[in-house]
């Protein structure tokens, strides 16, 4: 593709197409926010009903991995942001390097979350059900906590995997992006950052609130 700005026939100009695409991703993200809404709402609601059991559950989580993972995701959003700035300033090569770095951080998150943390959670018998290891009066509520935990982290992980696929696609298409034409880079970046924001809500719900008291 050349640098001549092309556009689909329903748009008046390439700029018109760009603006429209960016509005589209924002609206999609609004929809995604409401998609995650019921988890957050139900989680907080269930915790209010049985706070001590939720605290007992939360204390079994691995705070260190949680903090490292949060740092990884924030760093990956930052890396993506630098990648976006790179293409805006004309360096395609630097964009690819930063996007690869963002991917690596995302992969590291997935490895820690599912390869290390989930495995140890499962070994500790924290998956809700007959073999659930927490006993006593907090057993039921702690199971509910871990139902939320496994459900929401799996869903967040799936979103992250989709995000990785999209970033990989941007990298593979890098040759067609120029300082003036790089709307897909921006759009995928918005999605990539959105996944981190979801995590920034999950992080306190999983690791912090239960440890506060």
């Amino acid at each position: 593709m050349s640098d001549v700005a092309t556009h689909e026939f329903q748009f008046a100009s390439a700029e018109h197409q760009r603006e429209t695409a960016i509005s589209g991703i924002w609206l999609f993200l609004a929809s995604e926010a409401l998609f995650f809404g019921p988890i957050f709402l139900s989680w907080i609601y269930a915790r209010l009903a049985d706070p001590s059991a939720f605290d007992a559950g939360a204390r079994q989580t691995d705070l260190t991995i949680g903090i490292v993972n949060t740092a990884l995701l924030i760093a990956s959003s930052f890396a993506y942001g630098v990648g976006l700035a790179s293409i805006q300033f004309g360096s395609r090569r630097r964009m690819v390097v930063w996007l690869l770095f963002a991917c690596t951080l995302g992969l590291a998150f997935l490895g820690l979350k599912f390869g290390v943390e989930w495995r140890s959670d499962l070994e500790k018998g924290l998956f809700p059900g007959a073999n659930f290891s927490i006993q006593g009066p907090t057993r039921n509520g702690a199971q509910l906590f871990f139902a939320f935990y496994f459900f929401s982290t799996a869903l967040h992980g799936l979103h992250l995997i989709v995000g990785l696929g999209l970033v990989a696609w941007i990298i593979s298409q890098a040759r067609q992006f120029t300082p003036k034409r790089h709307t897909p880079v921006l759009i995928v970046g918005l999605y990539w950052t959105f996944i981190d924001i979801i995590w920034l809500v999950l992080f306190p719900l999983i690791y912090l609130i239960g440890r506060a008291s």
Binding site: E8, F9, Q10, F11, H16, E19, T20, S23, G24, L27, F28, A30, S31, E32, L34, F35, F36, G37, P38, I39, L41, S42, Y45, A46, A49, D50, A53, P128, G129, N140, G141, Q143, L144, A147, F148, F151, L155
Partner: protein
């Protein structure tokens, strides 16, 4: 009229199956949707037929309460998610939005095609769930029945609705962005046809409420698969939470079903009264108000579910508030007809029928919105009759009205007008005779979803079932004469009704690119007393 020889009608732009199944043309996708939607309407209709068949006799003619449960679940699931919610937006909305905007296509044509594939995949999964094995939960999937006790393909049904939801979100997103970004030069917000405003209000609900349902159903599937979950009271979860989340979507979804119908009626009444729409801004803002207030009334589905009295009173009050914008619309339509030159063509007959049926459905809605009355009426046939007046009497009439109105534009053919009128009258009469007895049954205390009933309800049930046959003929009739008109119908001109609106300025059927030259809008819509609305530069 701009009709150059170089322009190829969208119907002639490729005749292969591939040119249809991979088309990103909004008009072709609308046709694909019409085929799919009509199919699901008739499958859901067969289930309705069997329900009415069973209720002919007090002891039930089907012989098994289990089968009956599966039938009304099938009817509800297919009709709600595979007909009522998507029907008007994906068919009429898809076809008309770019034409009314003066645009060449929707903002995201490939997303539009993707939404059709998602819909069809979801539809087949739903068919597998409700036919091959069945679901006995009703369309509402209440826990803990659904998560722990129900037999049948609950997870498949839930997955189907989940996927169909994303099809809806894609469609809604496409409409909102298109309306914001693709309006023709000169088309300010207040120069837009009301149909686009109502589609906009509809789309806001689709984009913001559907994801809530999607997540709720995922949580439900998780609970059913792993036997442990957030709605299970045994571990501190809350079944009422499911109902709150479910109705947070499913009540606004009711407005998804009816709002496009309001839009259709607002186009037809001025065209067949030869008058400007009365109170344009009121009609427009009533749509927006309904969409907004619609998000705040879900609790009226839970008056007897054990919610607090205080919240029930608030929800009751808020529910009354929805009646205000709805009534404004009805008065505006009647005001438009007042002193107009009214023509009783089929679209207008459907539209007038709509006003009557919707008003009845709306007013009986006030009965069930009233906290005290609802305690008596809830879970009875009164509720069934109420929402069928709005959904079937209202929405389906408006859908048929729109179909007759825009059929010449879509196909380039005129349907036989006499048969159209016969169909409209049959549907109106058949509908009332089918569902009015159900108001009486419900008021007398016949519960809904029961396989059998006491002897003294037999006469009214018999009347309802017999009249359902009239209604069925009314629904089958258009299928026949529309098909006939495709082959033998008279060729339609660009504007057979003499209506205003950009869609009537382009040939019937429109060329692939819709407009040879992007139109410029200089006047407000519905200028029926005056000359041309639109000029081509």
């Amino acid at each position: 009229m701009t009709h150059s020889a170089a322009q190829v009608s969208y119907l002639d732009d490729g005749h292969t199956l591939r040119s249809w199944l991979l088309s990103t043309d909004h008009k072709r996708i609308a046709i694909l949707y019409i085929v799919a939607i009509t199919f699901f309407f008739f499958v859901g209709g067969v289930a309705a037929f069997l329900i009415r068949y069973n209720l002919i006799s007090p002891n039930g003619l089907i012989g098994s309460a289990e089968t009956y449960n599966r039938l009304f679940s099938m009817h509800g699931i297919l009709m709600v998610w595979f007909f009522l919610v998507p029907a008007a937006p994906v068919t009429l909305g898809n076809f008309l939005t770019p034409l009314m905007l003066g645009a060449r296509d929707l903002a995201f044509p490939r997303l539009n095609l993707l939404s059709w594939y998602l819909f069809v995949i979801a539809g087949f999964i739903a068919l597998y769930a409700v036919v091959g094995g069945g679901v006995d939960t009703g369309w509402t999937f209440y826990t803990p029945l659904t998560s722990f006790y129900s037999k049948g393909h609950v997870v498949a049904a839930v997955v189907a609705i989940f996927i169909a939801g994303f099809s809806s979100i894609a469609t809604g997103l496409n409409f909102i962005i298109s309306i914001h970004k693709l309006r023709a030069p000169g088309m300010t917000w207040y120069k837009m046809p009301v149909f686009l405003w109502s589609l906009y209000a509809t789309s806001v609900i689709l984009v913001l409420a559907t994801p809530v349902l999607a997540m709720t159903l995922l949580l439900l599937a998780f609970e059913r698969i792993f036997g442990i979950g957030v709605f299970d009271p045994a571990i501190g979860g809350d079944p009422l939470l499911f109902q709150h989340l479910f109705w947070f979507y499913s009540h606004p979804a009711v407005y998804v079903m009816i709002l496009p119908g309001f839009g259709v009626i607002s186009e037809i009444i001025p065209a067949f009264s030869r008058k400007e729409l009365f109170g344009y801004k009121f009609v427009v803002w009533a749509s927006i108000a309904i969409a907004v207030i619609g998000f705040l009334v879900w609790g009226h589905h839970m008056f007897v579910a054990g919610t607090s009295l205080y919240s029930a009173i608030v929800f009751s009050l808020l529910s009354y508030m929805v009646a205000v914008p709805s009534a404004i619309k009805v008065f505006n339509w009647i005001g438009t007809m007042h002193k107009g030159y009214i023509r009783f063509d089929a679209p207008m007959l459907y539209a007038i029928g709509f006003i009557g049926l919707f008003t009845t459905g709306g007013l009986t809605g006030l009965f069930v919105a009233a906290l005290a009355a609802d305690v008596h009426l809830t879970q009875t046939y009164f509720v069934v009759a109420h929402f069928h007046y709005v959904m079937v009497g209202g929405m389906v009439s408006a859908y048929f009205a729109g179909f007759h109105f825009w059929w010449p534009k879509m196909t380039g053919r005129l349907y036989p007008e006499m048969w159209g009128r016969v169909g409209a009258i049959l549907i109106f009469v058949g509908f009332n005779l089918t569902f009015f007895p159900q108001f009486l049954l419900g008021y007398l205390g016949m519960p809904r979803r029961y396989f059998a009933y006491p002897q003294h309800f037999e006469a009214l049930n018999l009347l309802s079932s017999a009249s359902a046959m009239v209604l069925a003929v009314g629904y089958l009739l258009p299928l026949g004469y529309f098909a006939w008109s495709l082959l033998y119908g008279e060729r339609a001109s660009a504007n057979p009704w003499g209506a205003t609106g950009l869609e009537w300025t382009t040939p019937s059927p429109p060329p692939t690119e819709n407009f040879a030259v992007t139109p410029t809008v200089t006047q407000p819509p519905y200028q029926y007393e005056h000359a041309e609305t639109v000029s081509h530069e």
